[in-house]
């Protein structure tokens, strides 16, 4: 919606399941890699985009020590849930303009997330790769993503009911 005309195709976000336990998300950004990487490694910038407005969630607190061996802890609240939700883990690798790897330790079903950055002709391809401990964990994460979005969930529900 934000993308206009000719750039719409290149700005498409692709999500695919790979193998049994992986999920791969790709997107190309029209900017050199040092700028794209900055938006991930600078906590103030990261917090501005990681939770989209449409998700209806707000950040209660966010501590991010983005360096190899550093940890993070992000706490969100959502009107549909009584308790805030905490997400935390460790940065396994932070390599300038190249790679970010972090763990998701809020449950034993959490993924290992690897983000790679590749610049080509002034554009940057971002590949976010999640490796889950089990196939069930991956598929639950896919299904669960809609749970934080009750409005859209209700819409999906209606849509499916209409098609039944």
């Amino acid at each position: 919606m934000a993308s206009e005309g000719s750039s719409a195709a290149s700005k498409r976000t692709a999500v695919e399941r790979k193998g049994d336990r992986e999920l791969v998300v790709t997107r190309t950004f029209d900017a050199p890699v040092h700028l794209v990487f900055e938006a991930w490694r600078n906590p103030e910038l990261f917090k501005r985009w990681w939770i989209p407005k449409s998700a209806g969630m707000s950040l209660v607190s966010g501590d991010m020590d983005i360096r190899t061996g550093g940890t993070y802890r992000l706490v969100f609240k959502h009107p549909a849930f009584d308790q805030p939700m905490a997400f935390f883990g460790t940065y396994k690798e932070v390599t300038e303009n190249t790679r970010l790897v972090w763990t998701n330790e809020e449950s034993d079903q959490g993924a290992l997330t690897t983000v790679t950055f590749e610049e080509k002709d002034g554009k940057t391809l971002v590949t976010l790769h999640e490796l889950y401990p089990t196939e069930a964990a991956r598929d639950e994460a896919i299904a669960g993503s809609a749970e934080g979005l009750p409005e859209q969930f209700a819409q999906l529900d209606e849509l499916l009911a209409a098609r039944a």
């Binding site: 919606m1 934000a2 993308s3 700005k11 498409r12 976000t13 692709a14 999500v15 399941r17 049994d20 998300v25 997107r27 950004f29 029209d30 900017a31 040092h34 700028l35 794209v36 900055e38 938006a39 910038l45 501005r48 985009w49 990681w50 939770i51 989209p52 407005k53 449409s54 998700a55 971002v126 976010l128 196939e135 069930a136 598929d139 639950e140 896919i142 299904a143 669960g144 993503s145 809609a146 749970e147 979005l149 859209q152 969930f153 999906l156 849509l159 499916l160 098609r163 039944a164």
Partner: protein, 118 residues
């Protein structure tokens, strides 16, 4: 919600097997009996019967027995449901990356304004 989740688990579990994915592809082209499918996938009738019942439990396939022949066809609605879930997940990432795009754009303009110092 739990109900959806359980059904979705069954759907993904059913899709995790290469033979069962092959059966769905085959049924996408035309309905087939269990024995047709067994033959095509070089399996025993019993072996194919098991795959078909897993697909049936997941709602991906429906079967109908006429006389001694059990005919299988795709249960389309379930496939649409799974596609809808994945699309939903894609939308989340899309919204997230649209927001990132705006920030990157802003950084780009800022850098340009500051006159290319790196």
């Amino acid at each position: 919600m739990v109900h959806y989740q359980a059904r979705l688990d069954a759907t993904f579990a059913a899709l995790s097997d290469v033979t069962r994915r092959g059966v769905l592809e085959q049924l996408g082209r035309s309905d087939a009996s269990v024995s047709d499918l067994a033959q095509r996938f070089h399996m025993t009738l019993t072996g194919m019967g098991k795959h078909v019942s897993i697909l049936e439990e997941a709602g991906l396939v429906t079967t109908e027995k006429v006389g001694r022949v059990r005919t299988c066809k795709l249960g389309m609605r379930q496939l649409e449901e799974e596609a809808a879930w994945i699309e939903r997940h894609r939308e989340l990432w899309s919204a997230r990356f649209d927001a990132l795009d705006e920030i990157v754009d802003h950084l780009k303009r800022e850098e340009k304004a500051n006159g290319k110092r790196r």
